[in-house]
Symmetry: C2
Subunit: 313 residues, 2 copies
C-alpha cells in the first residue's frame, strides 16, 4: 500500500513528490510514462520562473536540476501509464493500462492539459520555435515585434490583448467574420490600435528558417485570395484538452466533481470532492498554466496529504 500515488510528472507532480518525501513519507511513487518535466521541457527559454534566471537556458536544462532535487528525498518513479483511479472503502486503487494495479492511501493527480494542434503545415516543425500556445509564457520574447494570433474565442482575444501591451503589432486571424468571444471582449479588442483583425481567413502554412518562424501564408475563404504575413511568432488558441481520463470510472463517470470544461474542482488546499484525492496544476479549475503556480499546487497538495495521513492514521 503506497502512502501516496502521484499521477503525472510535470512541475506539480514532481513538487508533490519532493514535499511528501522530504516530509517523511516513505512510500511515494510518481507514475509518468515519459520523461518527468511536463510541457515545460519543450520550451526553448525560461525566464519567468522566479529564481531561475540564466539567459539562454532551455526548459530541459531547467528540469534537470529540478528532477535531481525532487528525487533526492526518496521519491520513486515508475514508467507506467495509469488507466484509472478508483476508491474502495478507505483506500484508492490505481489501475494501469496493462491491467495491473496498486493500492494507495492518497492520490495526487497532476496530468495537465494538452493544447490542441491545428494540423497546419509547419506547426509541428516550429512548435516552441515561434509557435506558442501561451502568451504569458512567451509573449515577452517578441517584445516590439510583430506576431499573429490564431483563434476566435475568449482566450484568443484576451491573449491578443495581452500581447498588444508587449508587441509592436498583433494580427488576429480568424476563419469566420463572427467571434465566439463575448461581445464586450470583441469590442474592447477592436479599439486597440496595434491589433488588426483579419477575418474569414485561415493559415495555410507556417514558414520559417533555422532561427524559427518568419511568417504565415494566409488564404481568405470568401475571396480565395492568398497573401503572406511577416511575423516572428504565431500564438495558437484553438483550445486545450484537459487530461482527466484517469478520473473516469469504468462507466465513464468522473469520481470527483468537475467543471463544465472538464477541469477538476478544488479548493485552496487542492482538495477535490473525494476525500484523499487532490488535483494540481493545469487540470484544475482556474489554473493559471504557469510552472510556478503548478509547483505551488504540488507543495500544497503534499502538505495536505501528510496532514490527512496523520489524521486518518
Amino acid at each position: 500500500m503506497l502512502d501516496c500515488a502521484i499521477i503525472g510528472g510535470g512541475p506539480a507532480g514532481l513538487t508533490a513528490g519532493l514535499y511528501t518525501t522530504r516530509g517523511g513519507l516513505k512510500n511515494v511513487v510518481m507514475f509518468e510514462m515519459g520523461m518527468p518535466g511536463g510541457q515545460i521541457t519543450q520550451s526553448s527559454e525560461i525566464e519567468n520562473y522566479p529564481g531561475f534566471y540564466q539567459h539562454g537556458k532551455t526548459g530541459m536544462d531547467f528540469m534537470n536540476t529540478w528532477q535531481e532535487q525532487c528525487f533526492a528525498f526518496g521519491l520513486k518513479h515508475e514508467m507506467k501509464k495509469v488507466e484509472r483511479v478508483s476508491k474502495e472503502q478507505e483506500h484508492f486503487i490505481v489501475t494501469f493500462e496493462d491491467g495491473n494495479s496498486v493500492k494507495a492511501k492518497t492520490v495526487i493527480v497532476g496530468t495537465g492539459s494538452t493544447p490542441k494542434r491545428t494540423g497546419i503545415k509547419g506547426e509541428d516543425e516550429f512548435w516552441g520555435k515561434g509557435v506558442s500556445t501561451c502568451a504569458t509564457c512567451d509573449g515577452f520574447f517578441y517584445k516590439n515585434q510583430e506576431v499573429a494570433v490564431l483563434g476566435g474565442g475568449d482566450t484568443a482575444l484576451e491573449e491578443a490583448h495581452y500581447l498588444s501591451n508587449i508587441c509592436s503589432k498583433v494580427y488576429l486571424i480568424h476563419r469566420r467574420d463572427k467571434f465566439r468571444a463575448a461581445p464586450s471582449t470583441v469590442e474592447r479588442v477592436k479599439k486597440i490600435d496595434n491589433i488588426e483583425l483579419i477575418t474569414d481567413t485561415i493559415i495555410e502554412e507556417i514558414e520559417g528558417d533555422m532561427m524559427g518562424v518568419t511568417g504565415v501564408r494566409l488564404k481568405n475563404l470568401k475571396t480565395g485570395e492568398k497573401s503572406n504575413l511577416k511575423v516572428s511568432g504565431i500564438f495558437i488558441f484553438v483550445g486545450h484538452n484537459v487530461n482527466n481520463s484517469v478520473l473516469k470510472d469504468e462507466n465513464g463517470n468522473f469520481i470527483c466533481d468537475m467543471s463544465d470544461w472538464g477541469q477538476v474542482i478544488v479548493d485552496l488546499n487542492m482538495k477535490t470532492s473525494l476525500k484523499g484525492l487532490y488535483a494540481t496544476g493545469d487540470m484544475r479549475i482556474e489554473a493559471p498554466k504557469q510552472v510556478v503556480s503548478a509547483a505551488g499546487d504540488g507543495a500544497v497538495a503534499a502538505l495536505q496529504v501528510i496532514s490527512y495521513l496523520q489524521e486518518e492514521g
Copy 2:
C-alpha cells in the same frame, strides 16, 4: 496613477512584480521598507524550492538571483512604509507613514506574517541556526536527530507529528499539563512512539555553539526542578502575527473580508472581496507558508491584475 501597487517585497510581491511588468504593465511599484526577499533571507539553507538545489546555498544567495530577475522587466522598488490602502470610486489610494500617498488602479498585498518570539534567552542568537518556526521548511535538516518542539496548540502538536516522521526523537515541551489543541490531536500525538511529552515545563535558555543549537535548559514549573536536554533543533510554535494592518481604514475596520484569525479571505485567483485588490502569500487564508506557494500566488494575482485592467480599461 500606478497600474499596480505591490505592497510587500517577499516571494509573493517580487513574483507579482515579475509577472505584471513582463506582461507589459509600465507603471508598477513595489513598496517594501527593507531589503526585498522576505523571511526566507534569514534561512541558512534552502532545499525545498523546486529548481534551486545547490548544497549550502543560503536564503540570501537564493534571493539575489530572484531579485535580479524580478527587477529585470521594469518593476520599481520604493523603500516606503505603507500605512494603509483605501479605495475611492474606481481607484486605490496607498498612504505612507510619512503622510504622502499615491493612486493606483490595482493593489496586490503580500505583507506576510511574523512568527511570534518567546523572548527566551538564546532565541535571537540562534534564530535560523537551530531555532525554527517551520517544520516543513527545516525538519529535514534534523533527519535522524533529536529535536524539541515548544507549544501546546494545534500547530505545535501537528508539527511535532510531522517531525516524528523525520527525526529520531521529538520532545514536546509545554508550560501547562493541558493542551489547547483538539483532544483528538492530543490523543493521536500521545500514541506516537518517538514523541515524548514534557508538560508543566518551560525553556529557560537555548544553548549552542558556533555550529548552532546544542540543547535547551528546562525548568519544571510544578517541582521547580531544572534539567538539560540535548537537541540540535528547537521548533517554536507560539503563534504568528498576520501583517494585515495596511488593510485597516482610519477607524480600524478592514477594507475587505478577513478570517477570524486576521487572514485575508481569497479565492483561487487571489481575489479579495474588494474589486481590484488581491492578497498573496502568508497573509491569506489557508496559506501553506512555503516560498514556492507564495510565488505561485504572486503570479496568479499579477495575471488577474492584467485581466482586470484589460476589462476595466
